[in-house]
Symmetry: D2
Subunit: 337 residues, 4 copies
Amino acid sequence: MTDTPKTLSRWQLSDYGRQHLAYVEAPMPTPGPGQILVQVAAASLNFRDLLMIDNGMGAPFTGPWTPGSDMAGRVMAVGDGVKRWQAGDEVISTFYAGWIDGRPSPEVFPLGGPGPGMLASHVLLDAQWVAAAPTTLNLAQASTLPCAALTAWFALIEQGGLRAGQTVLIHGTGGVALFGLQLARLHGARTVVVSGDPAKRAQVLAMGASHALARDGDWIAELRELTQGQGADHVLELVGGANVERSVQALAPGGRLSVIGVLDGDRIGTSAYPLIRHQTVLQGINVGHRRALEDLVRAIDVNRLTPAIAATYAASELPAALDHLARGAFGKVVVTF
Amino acid sequence: MTDTPKTLSRWQLSDYGRQHLAYVEAPMPTPGPGQILVQVAAASLNFRDLLMIDNGMGAPFTGPWTPGSDMAGRVMAVGDGVKRWQAGDEVISTFYAGWIDGRPSPEVFPLGGPGPGMLASHVLLDAQWVAAAPTTLNLAQASTLPCAALTAWFALIEQGGLRAGQTVLIHGTGGVALFGLQLARLHGARTVVVSGDPAKRAQVLAMGASHALARDGDWIAELRELTQGQGADHVLELVGGANVERSVQALAPGGRLSVIGVLDGDRIGTSAYPLIRHQTVLQGINVGHRRALEDLVRAIDVNRLTPAIAATYAASELPAALDHLARGAFGKVVVTF
Amino acid sequence: MTDTPKTLSRWQLSDYGRQHLAYVEAPMPTPGPGQILVQVAAASLNFRDLLMIDNGMGAPFTGPWTPGSDMAGRVMAVGDGVKRWQAGDEVISTFYAGWIDGRPSPEVFPLGGPGPGMLASHVLLDAQWVAAAPTTLNLAQASTLPCAALTAWFALIEQGGLRAGQTVLIHGTGGVALFGLQLARLHGARTVVVSGDPAKRAQVLAMGASHALARDGDWIAELRELTQGQGADHVLELVGGANVERSVQALAPGGRLSVIGVLDGDRIGTSAYPLIRHQTVLQGINVGHRRALEDLVRAIDVNRLTPAIAATYAASELPAALDHLARGAFGKVVVTF
Amino acid sequence: MTDTPKTLSRWQLSDYGRQHLAYVEAPMPTPGPGQILVQVAAASLNFRDLLMIDNGMGAPFTGPWTPGSDMAGRVMAVGDGVKRWQAGDEVISTFYAGWIDGRPSPEVFPLGGPGPGMLASHVLLDAQWVAAAPTTLNLAQASTLPCAALTAWFALIEQGGLRAGQTVLIHGTGGVALFGLQLARLHGARTVVVSGDPAKRAQVLAMGASHALARDGDWIAELRELTQGQGADHVLELVGGANVERSVQALAPGGRLSVIGVLDGDRIGTSAYPLIRHQTVLQGINVGHRRALEDLVRAIDVNRLTPAIAATYAASELPAALDHLARGAFGKVVVTF
């Protein structure tokens, strides 16, 4: 502990709105029983961070806080009774603090509001709230996993039971979408990405997507054609709104639609008939638990899968990083500390 | 086979519309290879029969046909190669001809249009399209199982994995609803029925429902109160339309809504937020397969569960039986042959 | 906290062997952060307690400790940060400290060695290590659930997916067996108990078992007869040794055998052929997690199921209670504090 | 049908024993209702064929019959009512005739005894007993799938739910083993093959196995080392006998052992303790159903996976092909017609 500095730096909101973000210093804490102190190497940004910074997603502002939920770093010190970690271990955060396995208990909460935020040089965490980082990624890459990659894994693998040969329909090219593409390929699935941007369609094909379809075309018909009339076994629904009914129509009998994102609106509707006829499953997905994150880390290490990173920013450049995320990034936006 | 008469009687439609139903005679067929001839003892009516008689649910009228999908009867004769059955066996029909287990293949079809109809004194069937009748029910009772009871079983047990202590929310008091109530009780679940009719609420309480709530009251709040804030683990959605969103709001975390009926309209819509927050599952249910029907029959025999029958009509009284079904029945409407 | 006494009493082993048990006083602890202090009302005994007292199941003796894993009591005080409980709440212990849901992490451990023992007037526990007691049982009854009842629930319901109409074969009349009988009945299953003792066979029939078969008879043939040749869908294997192969032979196609107890020896063997032919599942069961215990508690409350208690002893009579357990009890042996 | 010859050729046993095999002519049959006539392009051999030819696996010899269960060919003619196929379609046989999905009914039976054998120039089959051949394989390759590949798929994917990052332990290099290796890799798993033959270890490494361990070494310890102490999540148990206990010891917590082969003896035994401690699942695997075969075919087509073929023999060389299989082949032995 001799090297631990006396202060840490963190981004902090004095009120909602990006203009109220400031990079401030604070005293370095000491881990209490069951806690660990982590030196953050990198934090990756999620769309949720933008919403939380802008308005707390509806929660009243109750005092200065630090945003950010995704982090990779090194354990600097451990509190009494901590056996899971020792100084020097590389770890990544879990999005839902305290959700270990199975169903979430009512007590779990997200990091980065209301839980502690990760956009800091050092963070104090319960030893249960982190998982071992992959051994085959650097920490900037590792920081991209806790939210976006786990959401895709949870939808397709943990809940979806994806198997080789199935068809996965992916909407857009955001963080969850690109991880969904990589993880579906890893399991031998056929992957079909729908995007409105020709350049991004070319990019996903370069990443190995089986097909990339134009959003303004008749992608339902094209998908059916590509699948001998079957349709998709899994849909990562990342658009929401009116897109959901189209996704339902694109499903194969027994297919499964994971409700994840609502960029085009949270109102979703459909005729019940295709649901009944095809015994379709629609399931809301809310990131996932630590055990699944550990499974994901292992899958990454065994297969040396590399996350797509759009850009890396220095800690002081957080506003530019948030701008990048807000205007749309192909791959994760990472901030290093 | 000495007792087999030369002719059979059956209800037949010369065009869509109940006024075109006639009870006609036809030559008695002989079972071909793999077929069985069944003397029908009773047929039970489903709401689908009304729709099929009225307009074929959209299919063009292509010639006289016999409606009805639910039947219990006795095997009179078997064709070459039939080992599953012998004369005298008591059997019930399967709603989906050819759906044995697992997922339905594209080749399966319902009895009572486009498959052969059961409202007849005798029916010729593939030996694979029937299951053994329960030994503890008479054939009038047994005839109620293939569609309504199996739908409830498939939603709650086969797909839903219902376990004791869970809360099942049931809308209305139709055929599927009452079987859902009985089967949920059989598995030790708490049952909550929502009905707009005080007399029917009294009836379901008499059948053992844990609670009966008024449709025009704030049943979501009442349900939460009854479940210590938790909500329902399973919903049998038999109303459709705007009711679906209320049902979604009534679900417990990790809860499951089975989309079955659309009396109030097939357009269903909801906010995505409760789906995501609670990782809700919505699944379309389309009756079920023969293996689940066999499981259901065994559950009935082991527990001596008795279906609710609203009324029994003679074969010649089919029009009155259909009227009864159309105006709403508490329990199944059965026609005996 | 004004009523909290200055000392507590607990049973303590100064060395392995029942003769080294003593009922001693110790200072009353104060709950630290995340901890609760519970006033024990009752503790129930398990066969494991006998083994732990006799020889620690192989672990070297490292100092005085308190045995016992099953407890029901009232929360007296809570430490900093505890939100799950408040003083006055009635709780039961979880057998595996820290196993909340899903798979157990390597960090979980049993109470009553190596974790803290429950045979005490007061116990200090992590707030995560207890579940709410059923509201429909007294605390003596509630104390029987954490190990025996949860094991039966986990084998049959959580892992086994038991449904009405299935056949459950239960060996003996120990704690897990009797709960297995009650829980199987609660789900509408047919229950067949095999016991060598005619009096106990009469007792399980009085508790509602469908059938009770003599251990020295040809119970495999009798079971097949009772199930129309099918065999058992689930076996609670509580005997071990040579009994396992007989149990395998008694299984229905697709059946499932839960390996739980090894009274007749831990060596288990079978021909592989029936396993392959029937696609049998054998699964080791190791009590279960807190979420399943919470599910079980809810099932008990909804159905007002009452555990079988063989006898209740005062705290000072622990040696007599252990003798009772060792010579065989029909129902749980409970010690009250 | 103008091109259909008047006779077909087939291998036929006049008594048990390879010396009683003869290649004989027989009249060409015409498909009856529901049947198809298939011109066989290739048949692949399984170890079961050797046993069936030698002694019928215990069944009394009741008259001349044709062995062989795995076939790929072209539909030549279809009988009345067949809609699944038309002339020219390329198909592969299903090992279990009539097992479509879910659990097998008691009526299913294997091809190649007691069902019709595939070692023939033409075979008459129920239209339900075949699946579409992969479009990316030739028919010699396609003939290898029905038994060996489906068994591996059923154990690992259909029943095992294999996911990327898990460790699969594979015993030996027989037909099921090599498909297990390929299918596990297809899902992103780590694969560890245990073999006693250094040359075969080199061959599986060339096929992409993560590791190949010597059978006479301490492969349990080596496996643990390779998996950071975890052990295997899945074992394909293809040896049987005393090997099973070693496999159990090699399993990770929550691991799963598929009981498939019994080359070293059908008596399997283990201590119950590791099963209980790790909540291990042992499951007998008996090939699989047609729906899973269709899933497998799709996985092969999407991923262009190529089966390993040891050698291809002309139809007249069946005795040499059987010799090759009997002395051990790396890859499937195929006979072309």
